[in-house]
Symmetry: C2
Subunit: 308 residues, 2 copies
């Protein structure tokens, strides 16, 4: 199956300066490291990137920092979905004006119990107001944060109304059955796993790839699984790669996930300032960080990962 969007995309974390403003230089360096690791692209400003903890001006600056550092616009998939339509339109237009055509778009996430008709009206209004045929939208299914599941009937209506524009979904709910049903019902619509352990099963079902948090750390393994999932000759290497991915995921989930990922990224880059988060998220404590580093060393011994 050919998809408009396919590959391993990093739900990149966002480093912060001491005043908790985005550390744009550290972010740009991280983006380059992710491409070096084998990421096809960077889904910056998602949940892991603390996007909704930044102002629109900060979000524009973060995207511009990646572009200025030489990351190709085609590799950048910023999150642009806010609770309100006008600022979602504005952020998405800013991305398009920078040559960044593909965005990951949350539904407007304040109200709960919203009907599919209401969510369709919101997405349609955003797409029509933008009015740019270059736009490519990846829907974002993360009901544990939004309370607003993206139903299959809603997808059906959106891909029918905007077949060139609504090209895929990031499914962060962690249920392979939901992904399998979308692959079956919507040929050519890219289903991207938001949960790392599901990359291998998803690729064996013909999925489009992933946008995950541990790709900040183990993108090499994710890229290996993505490329070789359906090659029986690589089954052993694929299993080893997925085991390392899962170990990282399990470790981050033993703490509050996003702060734990940031602490691990800090260790990776030898930059302890990466540990900072913006409220309401809080950085891991020094004790947690020490514990986490010790357990990371164990993982590196027990799960060496994909073949070199």
């Amino acid at each position: 199956m050919t998809y408009a969007v396919s590959g391993v995309f990093c739900a990149s974390a966002t480093p912060l300066a001491s005043d908790l403003s985005p550390d744009l230089a550290a972010f740009a360096a991280h983006c380059h490291a992710l491409v070096q690791d084998g990421c096809d692209g960077i889904a910056l400003l998602g949940t892991t990137g603390e996007a909704n903890s930044f102002s629109s001006a900060e979000r524009r600056a973060i995207l511009e920092a990646a572009l200025s550092a030489g990351i190709a616009p085609s590799r950048l998939l910023p999150g642009t979905g806010l609770a309100n339509i006008p600022e979602t339109v504005e952020l998405t237009r800013h991305a398009l004006s920078s040559g960044v055509a593909t965005v990951v778009m949350l539904p407007p996430f304040y109200y709960k119990g919203v009907s599919d008709d209401g969510l369709f009206a919101a997405y349609a209004s955003v797409i029509e107001r933008i009015g740019d045929p270059r736009l490519r939208v990846i829907l974002y299914h993360i009901p544990q944060m939004t309370g607003l599941p993206i139903s299959h009937d809603l997808i059906e209506r959106l891909v029918t109304a905007f077949p060139e524009i609504v090209v895929g979904i990031k499914d962060s709910a962690g249920k392979i059955e939901n992904m399998e049903a979308m692959i079956a019902r919507f040929p050519g619509f890219a289903v991207l796993a938001g949960a790392d352990p599901l990359l291998l099963p998803l690729m064996r079902l013909g999925g489009g790839g992933c946008i995950t948090a541990t790709s900040n750390l183990v993108a090499r393994e994710l890229a290996y699984v993505f490329r070789n999932a359906n090659d029986p000759a690589q089954a052993e290497g694929v299993a080893a790669a997925q085991a390392r991915i899962n170990a990282y995921r399990d470790l981050s989930n033993a703490y509050v996930q996003i702060p734990a990922i940031k602490a691990m990224v800090g260790r990776r880059h030898g930059n302890p300032r990466w540990v900072r988060t913006r409220p309401p998220l809080l950085a891991v404590s020094a004790a947690e960080e020490a514990d986490l580093v010790r357990r990371l060393d164990d993982i590196d011994t027990l799960f060496p990962g994909a073949p070199a």
Copy 2:
């Protein structure tokens, strides 16, 4: 008990023009009608006001429209809490710069499962960055939308750290037991009911008043209950007033509440354009509106309300 904030405040709805921009003239007229009805103030840009469906620029324009129309700054309690801290600071500073000191502040509502430490850090960061001793903050407990309950321990920490600033809470969760416990634990901290049926029991417990949706329609009755709740000589009038309030509330809850309230406000002002909502909320259908008008007529017959 003396409270810094006390009375009947309207969680005012926001009328929209045909392009779904805020209809500022209709909004200003509605504010005057609410004051005429007996509202002590207007808690504009809350959940009923579809605040999070507007951009920050639109929110500033809505507040400015009420001020320009001659509503006293001391009567305006705008919602200024967004998912991110910098724009919450910016919106709140804008209110203060217009002489509006009291705001209703949601917690940063994207992430779920956030700790009290994280919510404390977020509120404290906003208050400290604003750095204005005139500021008065009403916390906003509406877990059915935010997924982030405001715990009593969090209130304790906030009123201890900012005793002059954190002055009350809007409790929209609809449990009188929670309100009673806060009244007992935090003397001088104004507990405001977000659910209309609870105004009378709350006032009998010594509460601070209310910020509710049906006050767009029956503020006269709410003001009557507020003033006379503890006067045995007025018990009959108070019961009649509360019965009318409850009938309006029940009627709005028979539909999607906010669109139903807007349709009823439209009927009140003889302005059918009030029915418009911004996605993801959808206006009531023509059939629903006809049904609603018929049932409103029944209420007006069955529940005449407070004594003139």
